[in-house]
């Protein structure tokens, strides 16, 4: 095992690099949306039958999952030794 050391900071700690990465992320998302103008995307069901539906589904589903997870965390998250003091099983 190695001991912690300090050398050059990671590339994402630079504000400039972080901005670049956000630009790349948003641009990539935009490209996937623009592609739908050139490619026919089949919508298998009527409730998903609108343009950019996959993007909306991905965004909404993940947002909901994070919100649910954070809500559950309020009463499910415990200290790491929660079971240890009663360890029988």
């Amino acid at each position: 095992m190695s001991q912690p050391t300090k050398d050059s900071p990671p590339f994402w700690e630079s504000k400039r690099n972080r901005i670049i990465m956000w630009i790349i992320l948003y641009t990539t998302c935009l490209i996937t949306l623009v592609l739908e103008l050139f490619v026919h995307v089949e919508h298998p069901f009527h409730f998903i039958g609108f343009p950019l539906s996959s993007a909306v589904l991905g965004f909404v589903a993940c947002t909901l999952m994070i919100i649910v997870a954070k809500g559950l965390a309020l009463f499910l998250k415990k200290k790491v030794d929660y079971y240890e003091k009663d360890e029988l099983l």
């Binding site: 095992m1 190695s2 912690p4 050391t5 300090k6 050398d7 900071p9 990671p10 994402w12 700690e13 956000w22 992320l25 948003y26 990539t28 998302c29 996937t32 949306l33 592609l35 739908e36 490619v39 026919h40 995307v41 089949e42 298998p44 069901f45 409730f47 998903i48 950019l52 539906s53 996959s54 993007a55 909306v56 589904l57 991905g58 965004f59 589903a61 993940c62 947002t63 999952m65 994070i66 649910v68 997870a69 954070k70 559950l72 965390a73 499910l76 998250k77 415990k78 200290k79 790491v80 929660y82 079971y83 009663d86 360890e87 029988l88 099983l89």
Partner: protein, 597 residues
């Protein structure tokens, strides 16, 4: 009997016995050769092969070898994964881990090629025992208790399975391991017990919290081996016996979402991957619930590819654990500099599990969604599609981000050993190869279906949108996803806390009753009866003599001394025989009278 009638499980189970006898690296080479041999044997097995033995009198012969395309595809991936897993473990010198792993994997092969329910059950229990031993082989306090809980849960599951098999046999007179239609057996208690027993192994909600408890407690290589077999043998059995059962739709969909939610809560990287297994098995269980040829093919293809990329993910996590000794996201980060190959290969696994186009997940998992689409199951398709987005969130991005990037903790471990990198490289290659050229995989799928291709331009664009906007959500909500050094309570809370409550109640009530009984009966009544019986003769004599002594003028001190002397003489046998005998006869008469009354 010829070579092609040997059950592949025998090669691993019997071959494991030689492991402790082999020296040094020969042992490690041997552990790779054994599953390779089993892989070759499976490729040569004709569908007519069988291996029957008489086991229980009164029961039909047990068939340990039933070969068809469904058992073969699982046999191939089990042995392939075993080879690569043992290559990953090339550094390991521990006989216990090697032997238990080989027997465990051999038992899984036994389940897959079992020709009847009794053979299935025997190998099922072998799997439970040897997987528990593999967890114990980590030799830590955590693994000791985790293995205990694991064994208890799997004993309960195994007993459900056994009870179900016996009830089914009594009801039908058959131990055939075959499809049980919901219409015919949907109200059969025995069949439901079998299903429950199998769902325990599949880590189905709410019976599956053992997985995230036990697997991360195992060793570096133990986790890699364990991640593949128990759950996927359950998937195999479900696909064989319960295709088209509607309850599996609900269970599978629930598993696929539950796995994501808990993976988002977790701090330990191997617990994240454990919940990810539940999420992925949820897709497979849903495919079995759909029950069409396309859905079952999708399940088989997904199981095949899942074992590859899940093993790859566990290997990358295992390599990090091996080098740093740490598994919590709060202790890790910034490892991309010192473990670049582990990061790259692990990221390929992360992309594959997320079904990014050009990876194996895209060409396998999407078959299940296509099957849901074909059957017009809108709600099933929607949940699985949402879960596909969630997979990218928790496994595709979260796992590599917090382990290799995120906050640089200053850790600078060495890169993983060569054997680990080669093993990961092989699996990463397969993840990409199957993604680009899924033809060889589709050729070994068990059921006939119309040709499938994932690479319609519209499908690719839709998948890219789904994944990129999932990534956008991750980074937008990153402040909410910061790791904390905590655990998350799961359904095992009921038996972990419940066990303590049960123990305390049993202790207070039963041991309390014990103490009262001991005090009153053993120490109290029994002692007094013994004392009375011992001194009965003297007591009766003193009842008569004390008043006489008092009448003759003896004082209290003299009476006491005379009583002591009398008792001593009687106990030593120095008083007159006739007198002593008369006293004893009187005592016995009184005792017998008391008993009779």
């Amino acid at each position: 009997m010829n070579f092609s009638d040997i059950p592949p499980s025998f090669i691993l189970i019997l071959g494991a016995c030689l492991v402790p006898l082999l020296p040094g690296k020969l042992k490690n080479v041997y552990t790779i050769v054994l599953p390779a041999l089993a892989f070759f044997l499976i490729s040569q097995l004709p569908e007519t092969a069988s291996f029957k033995i008489s086991f229980f009198e009164g029961f039909p012969e047990m068939n340990l070898l039933r070969v068809d395309k469904l058992s073969k595809i699982f046999g191939y991936i089990f042995t392939l994964n075993a080879c690569v897993g043992m290559l990953f473990a090339f550094y390991l010198k521990d006989n216990t881990q090697h032997t238990t792993a080989l027997v465990y994997m051999g038992s899984a092969l036994g389940v897959v090629f079992a020709g009847d329910l009794m053979a299935l059950y025997i190998f099922w229990e072998f799997m439970a025992i040897f997987s528990a031993l593999l967890i114990l082989a980590n030799r830590s306090r955590t693994s000791y208790f985790a293995a205990q809980r694991y064994l208890l849960v799997h004993i309960v599951g195994g007993l459900c399975l056994l009870a179900g098999i016996l009830m089914h046999y009594q009801h039908t007179g058959s131990l055939a391991f075959q499809s049980l239609s919901f219409d015919e057996f949907g109200h059969d208690v025995g069949v439901w017990l079998m299903l429950i027993g199998i769902l325990v192994n599949a880590a189905a909600l709410p019976l599956g919290s053992w997985l995230a408890d036990a697997y991360p407690s195992s060793s570096v290589t133990g986790g890699v081996i364990l991640s593949a077999y128990t759950t996927k043998t359950a998937v195999y059995v479900l696909a064989r016996a319960f295709p088209g059962w509607d309850p599996l739709l609900y269970i599978g969909c629930a598993m696929s979402v539950y796995g994501i939610i808990y993976a988002l809560l977790e701090n330990d990287m191997r617990r994240i991957l454990a919940y990810s297994i539940i999420n992925q098995v949820g897709f497979m269980v849903t495919g079995i619930g759909i029950g069409t040829a396309m859905a079952l093919n999708g399940t088989a293809a997904h199981a095949f590819c899942h074992i590859i990329y899940k093993s790859l993910l566990w290997m990358s996590a295992g390599a990090v654990l091996y080098r740093t000794g740490k598994s919590k996201c709060t202790d890790l980060g910034g490892l991309y500099k010192s473990m670049p190959w582990t990061m790259i290969l692990g990221t390929i696994g992360a992309l594959a599990i997320s079904a990014v186009p050009l990876t194996s997940g895209f060409t396998s998992k999407t078959i299940i969604l296509a099957a849901a689409e074909h059957e017009h199951m809108g709600w099933v398709w929607l949940i699985l599609e949402a879960a596909s987005a969630g997979v990218f969130l928790h496994a595709g991005i979260k796992f590599p981000y917090f382990v290799f990037f995120a906050k640089d903790r200053g850790l600078r471990p060495k890169e993983a050993p060569a054997s680990m990198l080669i093993a990961m490289g092989i699996l990463a290659f397969l993840c990409i190869y199957i993604g680009i050229n899924p033809g060889p995989l589709y050729d070994i799928l068990p059921f006939e279906m119309e040709p499938y291709s994932a690479y319609h331009p519209g499908h690719v664009v839709a998948q890219l949108q789904l994944l990129m906007f999932s990534a956008l959500v991750f980074f937008l909500f990153l402040p909410l996803l910061k790791r904390t050094d905590t655990i998350s309570l799961d359904f095992d809370w009921f038996y972990r806390k419940g066990a303590k409550v049960f123990y305390n109640v049993a202790d207070k009530s039963l041991n309390g009753l014990n103490k009262v009984a001991a005090r009153l009966l053993l120490d109290g009544v029994t002692t007094r009866i013994c004392s009375f019986a011992t001194n009965a003769s003297a007591g009766i004599g003193l009842i008569v003599l004390k008043p006489l002594w008092k009448a003759t003028g003896s004082d209290a001190e003299q009476i006491k001394a005379q009583a002591f002397s009398f008792t001593e003489n009687l106990n030593k046998g120095t008083s007159p025989v006739g007198f002593a005998a008369a006293l004893m006869l009187a005592a016995m008469t009184i005792l017998i009278a008391v008993v009779l009354i």
